[in-house]
Symmetry: C2
Amino acid sequence: MNHRRISPPAAGKPLPPGGGSPWRASRERLRDRELKRDAVIRAAAREFNRKGYHNTSLDDIAARLEVTKPTVYYYVTSKEQLLFECFVAGVEQIRAAFRDVRQLAAPARERLNAVLRHYGEAVAAEFGWCMVRAEDQDLPPAMSRHIKALKSEIDHGIRRLLREGVQDGSIEPCDPKMTAFALAGALNWIAHWYREDRSLSGAQIAAAFVTLFEGGLRPRGSTSRLVARAPLRRRARTALAR
Amino acid sequence: MNHRRISPPAAGKPLPPGGGSPWRASRERLRDRELKRDAVIRAAAREFNRKGYHNTSLDDIAARLEVTKPTVYYYVTSKEQLLFECFVAGVEQIRAAFRDVRQLAAPARERLNAVLRHYGEAVAAEFGWCMVRAEDQDLPPAMSRHIKALKSEIDHGIRRLLREGVQDGSIEPCDPKMTAFALAGALNWIAHWYREDRSLSGAQIAAAFVTLFEGGLRPRGSTSRLVARAPLRRRARTALAR
DNA sequence: GCGCATCTTTACCCGCGAGTAAGATACGTT
DNA sequence: AACGTATCTTACTCGCGGGTAAAGATGCGC
């Protein structure tokens, strides 16, 4: 998503022709302010994504918006808040995925897959980096607690779906905690490399991952070709611990 | 691994009783220096792990070692180098895993599993955080390139094992690139949460992950109980895209 | 065209933390 | 004892960057 397409030109309603009440006018102004505020947050997300939180100065963000630093502070109270807002925006997409899926009648594994696909897309999207790489260390305690709560909510949402899946038989029995960590980890990690390698869309990546999660590496079905040709390699010299 | 158990008391040879040549003495001093240098790097790794790279000052590291900042600079030329050394130390463990496994006669999937187990343990260990969360953004170009090369080597090592597995039939056909990303991502992510939740050992986590990677979520074997009881949930209100 | 609110700028402050210079201390060697 | 080297400390420098004060610009209602 390119914020330039959205913020300064402000595609929305070009103020109603009837001329408005004083209230109307003030509401319009407010709307404008929030658009600009969003643009600031988006710009921050982009820069954080490019250079990392600590390597991004507010001057950088301001420059990217072609304004000066105090202007940024006019819309936001601190750098921390900027990161926080990005985080929340990213997480919100995932929470939405859980809400959507709750309405479905499908077995838990399919609902889980749907969530994971949205999850992966969110991580690959605008606020993915902020959502995933934001360290609670960088934020004041109140925000940090809030973020942890949100993360925990998502984590437990996944675990819950896993448990339900084991119950309804659509998921192989497993440790929900470890499994949730593995799934979320694989998806979160997308934020680390997707910046450099955008050869696939977020949706494609998510789909590929879900396929792996579902089926696993070990071949299914006909066990015939399983042992087909394990070529003899050099003699084992080291006993491989564990 | 607790560096206090290792570095200052210096478990190794307590200087040979024969008394030494002047050379001997100077060698002993050198040895001492390198022990201390290691202690510095370990201390840095611990602090980076606790508070993050940017939130850790060299004064912090020095204080942890009960020395002053210039002492740290006596053993190391910059903060960046500190991070770099930690990174390399962590990666080295994983490279060792690849070397070990190359000697094995097992099918590729088993060799891959062995690598992944070592990988997971390394991430959960002392330098795991540095290896995994170090952003190339934080390092000067030369180091950054070096790190990327090492990362790439590991990545391609995994992809190669995947391809070999598909060839020898021990691994279900898959996209090696995406699969490698997923596997490594899940394991890398351990570094994010293992600090807070140490209820399992690195080896246990790695084992659990490998089990999931191998088998996947979808139940195997008898398809009998698969459709057993998918309880009808609320009607689907939203069409779940994709 | 005046006054007021909104928005943006210029010009600053200031603390933190990386990095250093130069002097103490300890110790082995002669 | 006297020197030299390795090690560590005290006491700095200095720039970056988060944050702010206060003065313009812009525009809207009257």
